[in-house]
Symmetry: C2
Subunit: 371 residues, 2 copies
């Protein structure tokens, strides 16, 4: 599959939770497959913190492969011969959608003058794209991690526009531990003098060291202790004995350094601040007097909540919390905890149980919706 960087510019004012209005709104997005005549076969896929719209074809900017190539494509489980797949870069991102690196109304990059955004704001931007594409009701909305938060926000704020919802390895609110890890990442970025108070674009610098440390810390949370042990253990990198120094003696050290250094080439540091902030702020029940089930009562579609047993970033308990609230709201919900040692990242990997569950859920949803 091939893809290109498509950017939609909407000369609207997007009202944000903070009270600010963003104008214009640009949305980087990609579609695969054909929208049918009834416009009833659209699948919206929502990406995670550092993801992008290139869910099924390689990213033309970075050259990175599609992040869900194992799930989305012709004849795949999310079958682009059957479904019209839409994926957009989130608001605040750095792959075509308006974010802190975008040029603001004054002709300068926004930097920290970009308004702080929320998950609900991301969904507002997605809804504007879906409107533009002429789609009234989405066949399904699917997403993992932060993408799952967007799925939950969609069915809470626009229940009539979603036929089926699949939040994967996600949470209805961000835990104190997750806020803590994000704060470490933000402090690492902001501690870098090249961050320049957020104005690094104007100053011609880039806080690559700080952003790299942030990515390293975050990356640990994406993997389970068991997976790290299996992949790396205490194995040494290109040496037979420890070197009694501060180079990367252990493979895990090299791996993390590589993850950090590769990340800074493709991601904007301020976007990292804004998007982690949006995740920290997410607490879906807060808008419903603290009753999460009230967020789901208007949703009449089908839901499937997936978690991974060794995910300590968004642990299965977070998914059970969602499922219980959906049951309380009368939603037709199934829930599935995949047994795996791969941790949070499992939602991106080949996990047969997960993939089977998704295939079954989509088949049942297609039957529901007469597709």
């Amino acid at each position: 599959m091939t893809s290109a960087l498509q950017i939609l510019r909407l000369d609207i004012g997007l009202p944000l939770d903070s009270g600010a209005v963003l104008s214009p709104l640009e949305i980087g997005y990609e579609t695969w497959g054909e929208l049918n005549a009834a416009k009833s076969n659209a699948v919206l896929i929502c990406h995670a913190l550092t993801g992008d719209q290139f869910v099924a074809g390689p990213n033309p900017v970075t050259g990175q492969p599609a992040w869900w190539a194992n799930l989305v494509g012709p004849g795949q489980i999310i079958d682009t011969d059957r479904y019209f797949v839409v994926c957009s870069n989130v608001l605040g991102g750095c792959m075509g959608t308006s974010g802190p690196a975008s040029i603001g109304p004054d002709g300068q990059p926004y930097g920290l003058s970009f308004p702080v955004i929320t998950i609900a704001d991301m969904v507002r931007a997605q809804a504007a794209l879906v409107d533009h594409l002429g789609i009234e009701r989405l066949f399904a909305v699917i997403g993992g991690s932060m993408g799952g938060m967007q799925v939950l926000e969609w069915i809470a704020s626009r229940p009539e526009r979603v036929g089926a919802a699949m939040p994967i390895a996600s949470a209805a609110r961000h835990s104190a531990q997750n806020i803590a890890f994000h704060e470490v990442g933000r402090q690492a970025v902001m501690a870098d003098p090249d961050w320049q108070g957020g104005a690094y674009q104007a100053k011609g610098t880039r806080p690559v060291k700080g952003l790299s440390v942030a990515r390293m810390a975050a990356h640990i949370t994406y993997l389970s202790d068991a997976a790290l042990h299996r992949k790396f253990g205490r194995r040494l990198q290109d040496r037979n004995e420890v070197a009694f120094g501060f180079d990367a003696d252990f493979q895990i050290e090299s791996y993390l350094r590589y993850q950090g250094s590769r990340f800074v080439d493709r991601f904007d540091a301020n976007s990292y601040l804004y998007i982690t902030r949006a995740m920290d702020y997410f607490d879906l029940a807060a808008g419903f007097n603290g009753r999460l089930s009230d967020a789901f009562t208007a949703f009449k579609g089908r839901a499937c909540v997936v978690s991974f047993s060794s995910d300590w970033h968004y642990p299965p308990a977070d998914s059970r919390h969602i499922t219980r609230a959906m049951i309380g709201a009368g939603v037709e919900v199934s829930a599935f905890e995949v047994e795996t040692d791969k941790g949070h990242d499992a939602f991106l990997l080949d996990e047969p149980q997960f993939h089977e569950a998704m295939a079954g859920f989509l088949a049942a949803s297609a039957a529901d919706q007469g597709l």
Copy 2:
């Protein structure tokens, strides 16, 4: 209890695992109670990564309270009316013992020219202190976290010198996940331009931002998710609504920032690099052809291995690994997993089950040793 900064200077050459020889050796230490005539009542307490020798009386340099005031003192479980308690700052530390901030033979601070050290080197330095105090055999060696590693090293390398051993919330080898967290901390320090390639003392700077980020990341690992949820949850700091900005909206953010900023006042950044490296290198079985039980066969004393159910930094499985090896070696070992939601930090807190276990273990050991 009062205490003063006592420093022992030994004009010896301390041979290190790296092959380097450290000379002279300075040891910052503190003692409480009286050594009896038979010199049979000495308890050596080994401190954790960022601890110090002030286990029972306040730190006279920082003004911080004793870190085990709830356990060590007259009439306490480690009773200074009965035992002669010795605690020394670890090699590589910054509270009086030779470390990277010490003045080297050339009259300049060592910085990165200080040799890389290991847990075994720390124990070598402690043994030199114990020799200096005229103690042949220690009644007990006790320590939590990195202190527990030193306990294990003592009974593996000097089994005849230890009567009773209590490693708490520790491990016989550092896991890949723990190496990963340490590497993030080191990279945070080294990313700070004020680190100056380790030569910040000579340059008159201090990498406070980098060290603060390192401390914040580490601090998360010391607490359980449940404890963070109980202590902080998603509660806001001094405000009723989120501020749509990057100040500390949440209490957990303020708390972490405070932990980071307080830490940099009392700890040397290069010491942090050296000591985390020593922990990463620790793999007790490696010196015994990979058979951990062989490390314990020469130890004829009593052991008690304590872990905490919600400790994910040094999880109970790490302690079970130690216990199994001790059983295999024929050591008289008891093991106890304390039920608590307080995470790794529980070893420093009031945990009645833990304290009862320690009291019972010391009583049984005193009976063993006719004390």
